[in-house]
């Protein structure tokens, strides 16, 4: 076993396949050494890849695309990797039972949002995990679907997902769109109520991928499929109902004990086999076409003006279109 691969990830429940593969020595079983590196924010993921702190990362496609194009630092070759998860993000707004009842009792969600916003003493401040994220695109689609102008009727702020609960409790933000389990955690802590799961906005959308740097793949030609095999095995374990308790315990274990330090009760509600929760994450490593995986994101990224029309050649050269 000579290959060592540093994979960056954040404190999110959909990082589970790499954490499980590491904890169960699945990487060793396939003859590769992998070191999961937990970083505080998405900027650290992108910089880690660009400046050789990481060999790969669990990340969403928009950030990978913008990093590959050199839109936030030096351009590096990143191709679509192994799909890991679908759906699972949640949009929540500040409030408790009363606000939630008002939201649900109002059929016109534009009015519901305006009524909710009127209870605040400022323009609603909504957080997303990074600008170049599926969360930002999904929140934008949600606001558009209820005829709320993101740029004039809300203020968008950026912060790492693990900081959102504290920011909500401190009154720094009024809602957020974040990955699992942070939306569920905000609801369980009675800080916010859910208004939409990402599945209801873009059904079946690809969320996280395991992306390895092309330079690392070239230096380790035999290692990529081994890492992918280990993570695919782990993703099956993460989906198996009989393993839910194990995976939940692992994700909730402290960082010092190879866990992710996530809130256990919230994690239990977002696991794929959770009995009642409507917005669970789905671990799915099956490959799909570039268009079905990234088509909607690339279209939205063009609308935002991040990507040119026509698209840069580098995107098709790298396999994103």
């Amino acid at each position: 076993m000579s290959t060592s691969c540093r994979i960056g990830l954040l404190q999110l429940a959909d990082s589970a396949p790499v954490i499980v593969a590491h904890a169960l020595n699945l990487f060793s079983k396939y003859g590769v050494a992998v070191e999961p590196v937990i970083v505080p924010s998405w900027a650290n993921i992108a910089d880690g890849l660009v400046w050789n702190g990481l060999d790969g990362a669990i990340m969403f496609a928009p950030l990978a695309i913008m990093t590959a194009l050199g839109q936030r630092g030096r351009a590096i070759a990143l191709r679509p990797g192994l799909p890991l998860s679908r759906e699972g993000n949640k949009i929540v707004l500040r409030g408790q039972h009363t606000e939630q009842e008002q939201w649900h009792s109002e059929c016109d969600k534009h009015r519901a949002f305006q009524h909710w916003a009127a209870t605040l003493d400022r323009k609603p401040r909504l957080a997303v995990v990074h600008l170049y994220s599926t969360h930002y695109l999904i929140l934008t689609r949600f606001l558009k679907s209820i005829s709320i102008c993101r740029d004039t009727e809300t203020e968008i702020v950026i912060m790492p997902p693990a900081n959102m609960i504290e920011a909500l409790a401190a009154g720094e933000i009024d809602g957020f769109c974040a990955g699992p389990p942070w939306g569920a955690d905000a609801a369980l802590k009675h800080l916010a109520f859910p208004v939409a799961g990402s599945a209801s906005i873009v059904s079946g959308h690809l969320e996280k991928m395991l992306i390895l740097k092309e330079t690392w793949k070239a230096e380790n030609p035999d290692a990529t499929h081994r890492i992918y095999n280990a993570v695919c095995d782990a993703a099956k374990i993460c989906t198996a109902p009989e393993q839910t308790a194990y995976v939940t315990d692992l994700l909730s274990a402290p960082l010092t004990a190879y866990g992710l330090g996530l809130p256990a009760e919230a994690v239990a509600t977002v696991m794929p086999a959770a009995p009642t929760a409507p917005d669970t994450m789905i671990f799915d490593t099956a490959p799909r076409s570039a268009d079905s995986s990234f088509g909607w994101m690339i279209q939205d990224m063009q609308t935002e003006g991040w990507l040119t029309r026509p698209l840069p050649d580098a995107l098709s050269n790298l396999g994103w279109v």
């Binding site: 650290n44 936030r72 004039t152 809300t154 950026i158």
Partner: protein, 194 residues
């Protein structure tokens, strides 16, 4: 005069770096108050360059200012990248610091600033690692002492004999004394002394 904003929650390190940079009369160094918002500070002080601890949570916000349509900042912010000096950026990332250019045009003479920051971050990292190693050694010594004490009570023996027993176990099983001591404590703590 170049305006430099230092955003580092480690106040000792930030203070040391500020003192280092203030020796250069061409720099106006501003320290970000603990818990103050990085975006607010950039808006308020309009620095030319921001040196930031890469683990700061609101670094992501700065990362996104250039493209965020509703950004309250008029000045663009970009991660400082020197295409000719990749190793400088790699060193900076490895040390835990990065720099953001807050102007349309790249700021000149950023490299010496970044090099000073890298050197200082490395020094703090080394000191921190030494401190952690010292704490670990202390904690290991305490564990071994507790295990020896328990062994002495159980076996009614002197300290030398207890130490010899732990050392023998470690050698026989090719393990560290600290591991044997921890195991002994977890297996025997709470057992009555005969």
């Amino acid at each position: 005069m170049m305006k430099v904003l230092l955003a580092d929650e480690n106040s000792h390190r930030a203070g040391a770096l500020a003192r280092l940079l203030e020796a250069d009369n061409s720099l106006d160094v501003i320290l970000l108050n603990p818990h103050a918002s990085l975006i607010d500070a950039v808006r308020c002080h309009a620095p030319d360059i921001v040196l930031v601890d890469i683990s700061r949570a609101d670094r992501d916000a700065l990362d996104s200012v250039r493209a965020l349509a509703a950004s309250p900042l008029e000045r663009p912010v970009a991660l400082f990248v020197d295409e000719d000096d990749e190793s400088l950026m790699e060193d900076a990332f490895a040390a835990g610091v990065c720099s953001y250019n807050v102007l349309d045009t790249p700021v000149k003479n950023v490299k010496p600033l970044l090099r000073s920051a890298i050197a200082l971050y490395h020094r703090f990292k080394k000191t921190n690692a030494e401190l952690l190693a010292a704490k670990k050694t202390l904690s290991e010594r305490e564990t071994i002492d507790r295990a020896k004490l328990l062994f002495m009570k159980h076996e009614r023996c002197k300290e030398e004999e207890a130490y010899r027993w732990f050392r023998k176990q470690a050698m026989q099983h090719s393990r560290k004394i600290i591991d044997i001591a921890s195991e002994y404590l977890s297996n025997n703590a709470g057992k009555p002394v005969e």
